[in-house]
Symmetry: C2
C-alpha cells in the first residue's frame, strides 16, 4: 500500500501531512491528514487518535479548526483524520446533491445496496484499511482511540462499540446517537442498507451499547444550544441505554454551545487528555 | 451608528459575534467579528486586540483557525477582526479578479485614485470608524493593540507606527515589510495611490519605523519556510531600518514554518501574552 504526500505544514513543532492513496476498500482515491507530534520516531512510536468528521467535512476541517494540535503535541499523540466519504467522478452522489447523503456523508457504514455498495464501504475503510496504512507509513504504536463529531461522533461510537479491544477509549462531540430513529439516519440507512431495519441496528450506538462486552471508556460532550439536538442527535436515547446497561458513560451537556467547531475547540483538550489517560493504562 | 448581529457562537465560555453595519468611511455594508471574553461587562471593560487578516481572508479566518480564543478568554482580552476590503456589487474589483488586489485585498490604505477611492478607505476605517463602533457597542476599555498576518501584518505595523499612542503595542506574523518595493505592494499601491511613489511611503513599515516618535513595543514572527519570504515579505528591510533607528523590535525567524494559519496558531499565544503584558503597564 503506497501513499502520496500532497502537502506538509510544520505546526506546534510537529508535522501535519496531507496524503492520498488508492483504496481497495472504497475503490477510489482517498485523502487523509495526519498530525505527528515532534516526539514521534521509529524508536518512539506514539499512540494515535482517529478523528471522524461530520456531514460536509473533509480531512481538513478538524486540523484547521479544532485547536487540537497544540494539545496533541504536548501529549505526544498522533491524530489521523480521514475524509467523510469516497470521492471522485465515478462515485455516485445524492440525486439532489443534498448535504446529508452521498458525497461528504458516508455515515461510516458498509453499503449493501446498489449503486452505493461499490464505493460506500466506510466502516471497513476506517476499521481495517486506514489503520493498516497508518501503521505501515507512520511511527505509531498499537494504542489507538477514536473520536468524532455529529455523523463522525456516531461513527466513532459505532466503531468503538463493535471493536471494544481494538480501541482503548472513545469520545464524541454532538453524536447522532440513535440514527435508526432520526431523519439523517433514516435517509442514509434506507439508501445504503435497504429497507430492512434489522440491518440498521449494527450501526446505532444506542443499540450497540446494550451488547455484552468490555465497557471501554466513553466521553461525550453535547451543546445545549445545538439546533440539531432534539430531532437528529437524541443523546437521551444513548443515556437511557447506558443507564439500563450500567455503562459508565461520561456525558456532559454544555449550556449555550452550538453544533459548530467553536464548541469542539472549547472542549477538545479534555477529550485528548481523556484518551491520553487511557493510553497509559 | 447601528450594527446588526448576523450570528453568535459561545466559545471557551466567551462569545463570538459576527455583525455588519453600514460604513460611512468605505460606503458599503461591512462585516466584522468580535470575541468578548466572559469576564467583560459594562463594569469590567476589557482591552481589545484588533486583528487584520491577509489577502483573500474575511473576518472569519482568524476566529476559526488561529486558536486565539482560548488564550483571549484566559487573559480577558476582546478580539476584533474586520474584513480585508469593502465588498458588494458596486465595489470595483481587479479586472481579472486576481487574489492580490481589489476585493479581499484592501491593503489598509486610503485610495486616492479612481475608481478605487470611493470605497477603498480601509486605513481610515480601521483607525477611526471601527474603534468608535466597537467602543459604542461592546464593553471595551481604552486600551488597544493591533496585530495581523501578511497584508494584515503590514496593515498592523503601518497603523501602529502612525498612531503610536493610540495602540499600546503591535505585533505581526509574516508581514509585508517593505511594500513599496515588492510585487504585491507595487501592484496595489500603483492602483490605489497612483504612480507618485512619494505617496506610497506613508504605508510602508520599513520607512515609517525610522520616523521620530514613541517606540511602541513590536513583536514579529516570520516562518523560515515561507514561500513568500524573499520576494514579497522582505523582513530584512524592517530589521535594517529598526537597527539604524535603535528600535527595539522583537523579531523571531522560525525555522520550517510556512505562511499558513498553522504557523499563526503555533505562536498566537505568545502574541496575546505580549499584548496583555503591555496593556497592564
Amino acid at each position: 500500500m503506497t501513499i502520496t504526500t500532497i502537502n506538509q505544514h510544520k505546526v506546534f513543532g510537529g508535522n501535519l501531512t496531507q496524503c492520498n492513496h488508492q483504496s481497495n476498500t472504497v475503490n477510489c482515491t482517498m485523502r487523509f491528514s495526519v498530525f505527528m507530534p515532534s516526539s514521534a520516531s521509529k524508536e518512539n512510536p506514539v499512540p494515535v487518535l482517529y478523528w471522524l468528521s461530520g456531514l460536509t467535512c473533509t480531512d481538513e476541517n478538524f486540523m484547521q479548526k479544532a485547536g487540537a494540535l497544540r494539545v496533541a503535541e504536548q501529549l505526544g499523540i498522533a491524530i489521523v483524520a480521514p475524509d467523510t466519504s469516497p470521492r471522485g467522478t465515478d462515485v455516485p452522489d445524492d440525486s439532489n446533491q443534498a448535504y446529508d447523503f452521498g458525497l461528504g456523508a458516508g455515515f461510516y457504514v458498509n453499503a449493501s445496496q446498489a449503486p452505493w455498495q461499490q464505493h460506500y464501504q466506510m466502516y471497513d475503510y476506517i476499521r481495517y484499511e486506514l489503520p493498516q496504512l497508518i501503521t505501515q507509513h507512520f511511527p505509531v504504536s498499537a494504542q489507538r482511540a477514536i473520536s468524532g463529531h455529529s455523523m463522525g461522533g456516531h461513527g466513532a461510537l459505532v466503531l468503538a462499540l463493535r471493536n471494544r479491544d481494538f480501541y482503548s477509549s472513545v469520545s464524541a462531540f454532538s453524536p447522532i446517537c440513535h440514527p435508526v430513529n432520526c431523519p439523517w439516519g433514516e435517509k442514509a440507512f434506507s439508501h445504503y442498507l435497504g429497507d430492512n431495519k434489522d440491518d440498521w441496528q449494527q450501526y446505532d450506538a444506542s443499540i450497540l451499547i446494550s451488547k455484552t462486552g468490555r465497557q471501554l471508556p466513553m466521553l461525550v460532550h453535547q451543546g445545549g444550544g445545538d439546533e440539531f439536538l432534539e430531532q437528529q442527535l437524541q443523546p437521551q436515547a444513548l443515556l437511557d441505554a447506558a443507564k439500563r446497561k450500567h455503562y459508565p458513560l461520561e456525558f456532559n451537556m454544555m449550556d449555550g454551545y452550538d453544533h459548530s467547531y467553536y464548541f469542539i475547540s472549547s472542549f477538545i483538550e479534555q477529550h485528548l487528555q481523556f484518551h491520553a489517560q487511557h493510553f497509559k493504562r
